[in-house]
Every structure is written in C-alpha cells, then in structure tokens.
C-alpha cells in the first residue's frame, strides 16, 4: 500500500502531468496525419526523453503512443486513409459510417472504446505482471537466453509476409548489435578501425533512421501535392456513442482482453491485435452480413483491441526485459540508458516505479477521452497541416535528435545510412520490426549465452537441463522449424490476416 501511495506522489507532480499532456498532444498530431506512425512518434520523442527522469520519460512514450493509435482513426473515418496501420482494418467501416451521416458516432466509438480497451489492458498488466515477475525471479541466464531467442523468433513469424525475409531482417539486426567492444571478452569486433564504433552503434540513430527517415523517404515524394482537405465534423453530434458502446459491451471486453494477450506476444502489436479482433468479432456476430457496410460492431472491438495491445506489450517488456514490439523495444532502450534494467528485479526493488508506470497508463488512457473528442472537432484543421512544411521539419528534428544522444555527427551518418537501408528493405518486403528487436535483444542473447557457457564450462547440454529452459528451448526450436519450413515450401499468393495487415501498413 505504501508503494501505491509513493507511486501516486511520483505521478501527480506537475512535471509528470505536463509531460503526459504534451506528449499526448504530440501523439495526437503524429497519429492523425497519415504516413506518420506511432513508432515514428516514439522515435522522435526519444531524444527529448533522454533528458528526463525515468518516470516522465516512460510517461511521455506511453501517452504519445496511446494517443497516436486513437488519432489514427480520425483520417481513416474522414478520408478512408488510416493514420496509423493499427486503424487500417476498420478505416473502411468508419468511412462508410461517415457517409451515412454517422461520423460523430463512428469517431466517438473509436475514442470511447480505445479508452476502455486501454484501461482493460492496464488492469491485466497490473494484475498479472507482478505475478509473472515473481515466477521469473527463478530464471537464470539459460532461461533468459531461450526467452530472448523465442521472442525474436516469434517476432519473425508474426511480422507477416515471408518468414525468410523476417529472419534475414533479424540477422541484420543481430549483426549491427555485435559491432563494437564485446561485453564478455572485451575484444573489438567489426569496427573497421573506426574510433566512433568502439562503443557500438547507438540505439537512437538506428531508431530514427529506420523509423523516421525511412518513412520520410517514402512520404516526402508526395508532400505538398493535393492537400488532404476534409470536411470537419464540427456540427457532428456524438449521440448514440454511449448506447452503442453499451450494446456491444461484450465486444469491448473481448477486444480488450484479446488485444492485451496479442500485445503480450512478441512481435505482434496494435495493428495485428485490431485485425484479429475485428475478424473474430465478425465471426461471432449475430449479423456478420452488416460488416463492411458501416456497422459499428467491428469498430467497437477492434478499437478496444488496438489500445489494449499497447498495454499488453509491456508485460514481457517489464517482466523479462524482452520487448514485444518496437515501441517497448524503445522503452527498454531508454530505461537501460537510465541505469534501470527491466526484468523481474525491477518489481521487487523498484515497486513504486512499477506502480507509477501503471498509474501513468491509466492517466494516459483516461486522457484519451477529452483529447480525443477535441481532436475530432479540430480534425479538419489538423489534416490541413501542409505536408510540404511538415516533412522538412521532421527531417531537421531527425538530424538534431540523432545528434543529441551522444552529441556526435557520426550518429547522424548512422541515421542516414540506416534510413537508406530501411527504404531498400521496406521496398523489398523485409519487415523492420525484427531488425530493431534483434538490435536490442542481440546483446542480451549473446551475453546470456556466454554466461551460461562459462558456468557450465563449455557444456552445451547445460542449456536444457532445467525444466523451464527445456520448454522454452523446445518452443524456440519449433518456431525456427516453422520459419525454415515456411521458407522452403511456402507457395506464393497464400495470404493470412497478418499478411493483409502487413500490406495495409505499407
């Protein structure tokens, strides 16, 4: 209880509250503009969070992403252009509702159900994370090695598209992570004689390069042409939002729980959660024929699911230090630079911080309501922001942001290089998620492997002589068999829902 009080006093400081509001507004802006994603918002926020204490830093990222996912629904409903990939599945549905004069209802449902889904996600997170953490205290380097490997492997399977390309993307990330001084033996690897690479490649320029510069290079060519004018739903009433949400309360609950679980899976984030939740709600619906004609039922559970997934992703990230998606990968990077290593120990040693993080989640999700409705009212103006001004500004932010982590121009080169690599990879259907996860998990996998091998005096069998390690190892090997089998036998043109999600994201 005292920890909860302490957490409350940590959160309710004007500095933290101000950060939450500012980051929410930033996320709102980034999410509402098609082409700018929640991950990009996070990547651009990180340079600023470097200068904050751990709690406000996390608060900034949590609130920005939650708001970005909600704001992504707005251009989906107004222009049939989803603002972020997580809104793609129901953009058509919301747009059709708008055509039938129910724009206020559609967007109102988006905001309300997102808030509810987010709160369900936080509840599950707060309830289960400490229990799992207790269990995880028993883990040794063997289990962590397998867990990190399993997380990476699942990320490839879930990323959609060709698993072979996902695997290569992951291996590129692992290769980048090995540059610099090896943490176990102290030997210098792959620096090509460069002094700047001795300490390794820093996270921030990689992030900004892969997620901001890559997107910029893909969006800039269309900047300044055909400004997306949209009708403002200014006179739109929000009547029926509460009653519709209440009618499909089962869908909200299902979407929230399902979203949390999917979010907790490594590699599966908000976009996949909303796809699956939409599909399931259609299957279980009493009137599935109405789906795709402007029917709110699918909207309800998918909006709840994508925000719940955000919270769900924090379960593996906080408990094991193994990120489930790109945003939590960034969070882990940020926490590590602040001297906090996410893992079960954080729950016992810094219980107040963990509770404060949960509180921040609740606050950020509650804030979705007022800010979300405000955003809907101002949507027309928001969407009229000229991209010809916006994209050059983002470029300048990227440069200064990449520079600011280490005050080094070398990092700006790294950013540019990774941005170019990212465009090539994206154009060729290599997913970027596994790359960044591998870049962050690489040192964890390698150091735990080396630690185990030193403990056991070079005996490889020691990796599987503990029951949990054995199970994790079995799962990891199973996933890899699937990946390789898929790479060999997969026939072209056979689509899965995740394929569809991946192609929508492009």
């Amino acid at each position: 209880m005292s920890e909860l009080l302490q957490a409350t006093s940590m959160v309710f400081q004007w500095e933290v509250i101000l950060v939450i509001i500012a980051a929410s507004l930033f996320g709102l802006f980034m999410g509402a503009i098609p082409g700018l994603t929640a991950t990009m918002a996070t990547a651009l926020l990180v340079p600023v969070t470097f200068f904050m204490d751990p709690l406000p830093a996390i608060a900034a990222i949590v609130s920005a992403t939650a708001m970005a996912i909600v704001a992504g629904d707005i251009p989906g409903a107004l222009l049939r252009m989803p603002g972020t990939p997580a809104s793609a599945v129901y953009a058509d549905e919301a747009f059709l509702m708008g055509k039938r004069g129910k724009l206020g209802l559609a967007l109102g449902i988006n905001v309300t159900c997102s808030m509810l889904g987010g709160v369900i996600g936080v509840a599950v997170l707060a309830l289960f994370a400490p229990r799992i953490a207790e269990f995880a205290l028993e883990f040794t380097s063997d289990e962590y090695f397998w867990l990190a490997l399993l997380g990476l492997s699942c990320a490839i399977l879930v990323a959609g598209g060709d698993p072979l390309k996902g695997a290569i993307s992951m291996l590129i990330g692992l290769s980048l992570a090995m540059v610099g001084m090896d943490s176990v033996s102290g030997q210098v690897r792959f620096t090509l004689g460069s002094y700047d690479l001795l300490a390794g490649i820093s996270l921030l320029p990689v992030l900004i390069g892969l997620f901001a510069i890559t997107e910029l290079l893909r969006s800039l060519p269309t900047a300044g042409r055909g400004a997306s004018r949209a009708d403002t739903p200014r006179r739109e009433g929000f009547g029926g939002v509460v009653s519709t949400t209440w009618r499909y309360k089962g869908g909200v609950a299902r979407g929230g729980l399902l979203g949390t679980m999917i979010g907790a899976l490594p590699g599966a984030g908000a976009d996949i959660a909303s796809w699956i939740s939409y599909a399931i709600s259609r299957k279980l619906s009493r009137e599935p024929q109405k789906y795709g004609t402007g029917h709110p039922e699918g909207l309800v559970s998918a909006s709840a699911a994508n925000n719940a997934a955000l919270s769900g992703a924090y379960i593996p990230a906080l408990v094991f230090g193994i990120p489930g998606d790109t945003v939590t990968a960034i969070i882990i990077g940020v926490l590590t630079t602040k001297g906090i290593t996410p893992g079960p120990d954080v729950f016992t040693e810094q219980g107040a911080l963990v509770n404060a993080i949960f509180l921040v989640f609740v606050l950020a999700n509650l804030l979705l309501l007022p800010l979300g409705f405000m955003a809907i009212k101002g949507a027309g103006r928001l969407l009229a922001v000229p991209t010809g001004v916006l994209y050059p500004l983002i470029l300048m932010f990227c440069i200064v942001g990449a520079f600011s982590a280490n005050n080094s121009m070398f990092d700006v080169w790294v950013m540019l290089g990774l941005g170019l690599v990212g465009v090539f990879l994206m154009e060729n259907d290599f997913p970027l998620g596994p790359l960044i996860l591998a870049f962050i998990l690489g040192p964890i996998i390698e150091s735990n492997f080396m630690r185990s091998i030193l403990k056991s005096d070079g005996e490889l069998m020691a990796f599987v002589d503990r029951p949990i390690a054995m199970v994790l190892a079995g799962l990891a090997i199973l996933v890899w068999t699937l990946i390789i089998a898929n790479g060999i036998w997969k026939r072209p043109g056979r689509g899965s829902p995740t394929d569809a999600a991946a192609s929508q994201a492009r």
């Binding site: 072979l164 690897r189 290079l217 470029l395 060729n428 070079g458």
Partner: protein, 157 residues
C-alpha cells in the same frame, strides 16, 4: 525499387560471408572453444543459409531482376532521396563551419520552397521560425550543444 529475391538473397549471403571472414581472428575465451567469434560465426552462417534459400526462391519463381513497385513515381522519389541525402550531408559538413542556426535556416528555406511551393517569402519566414523553435527546444531547454557558429556573438553576447 524492388529487386528479385535472388539479388537481396545474395546481398544477405554476402553479409554472412563477410561476418564469418571478419570474425576469423577473434580468439575464444581462455580454455574454451567459445568466445567473441562464436556469435558472429553462427549469425554469418545463418545469413548464408537464409540468403541462399531466398536466392533459390527468387530464381525458382523467375522474379524480374528489378522493377518499380512503389506507389510514387520514380522521379519524385529520386528527388526526395537526393533532397534528404544532400540535406544530411550538408548539415554534417557545414554545421561545424557555419553553425546550426545558419545551416538549419538555409536548408529549411530550400526544402520549404521546394515542397511547400508558396514562394520564397513564406519559405524564409517559416524557416526562420522553425530554426528558432528547434534552437530553443534543443539548445536552450535540453542543453544539446548545437554549434552557434557564425551567430555566436549574437546568441551569446
């Protein structure tokens, strides 16, 4: 630009081979067979394997070597690519000489003029505002040592 899987597979395999070659002289830990070279070799090997599989797939499906599949046309894409690369290169090379405010202002003016297409007056005005905001945020608020350069006397009298 989309290349055949055979091309991207070859690139992956080449990276794998390079990793293996470059890690050849990393010595193992004392009295162990494993060491700093273990992981690079495993990852290099996997890259060779996966790259090889991808090459096989690309050849089997007879994919075209190179084609344009992106939604935007080639010309605007190349122009944007040149604009971004040139901006970053100019920033890195010129900031130590001229300082952040001058370089950022000039770069932003050019980019706004090129992409916003509302004439020079507006481009210069927005660029000046944007430069000031970024300077205030990063240099003043977050204490990032952005180089004042030519304007040192003006900004820090």
């Amino acid at each position: 630009m989309r290349t055949s899987d055979a091309v991207s597979g070859t690139m992956a395999a080449a990276l794998g081979a390079a990793l293996i070659v470059a890690s050849a002289d990393l010595s193992p830990l004392p009295r162990q067979v494993y060491g700093a070279g273990t992981f690079p070799k495993v990852i290099g090997g996997l890259l060779l394997l996966m790259g090889g599989l991808l090459v096989a797939k690309g050849l089997r499906q007879r994919q075209p070597w190179c084609r344009w599949t992106s939604k935007v046309a080639v010309r605007p894409f190349l122009l944007a690519l040149v604009a971004v690369v040139a901006s970053v290169v100019a920033y890195v090379l010129l900031t130590p000489v001229l300082g952040f405010p001058v370089v950022a202002f000039v770069l932003l003016s050019l980019l706004f003029r090129a992409y916003h297409r509302r004439g020079w007056g507006r481009a210069l005005l927005i660029a000046a505002l944007a430069t000031a905001v970024i300077w205030l945020l990063f240099a003043q608020l977050l204490h990032v040592p952005l180089d004042p350069g030519l304007l040192e006397q003006v900004l820090y009298p």
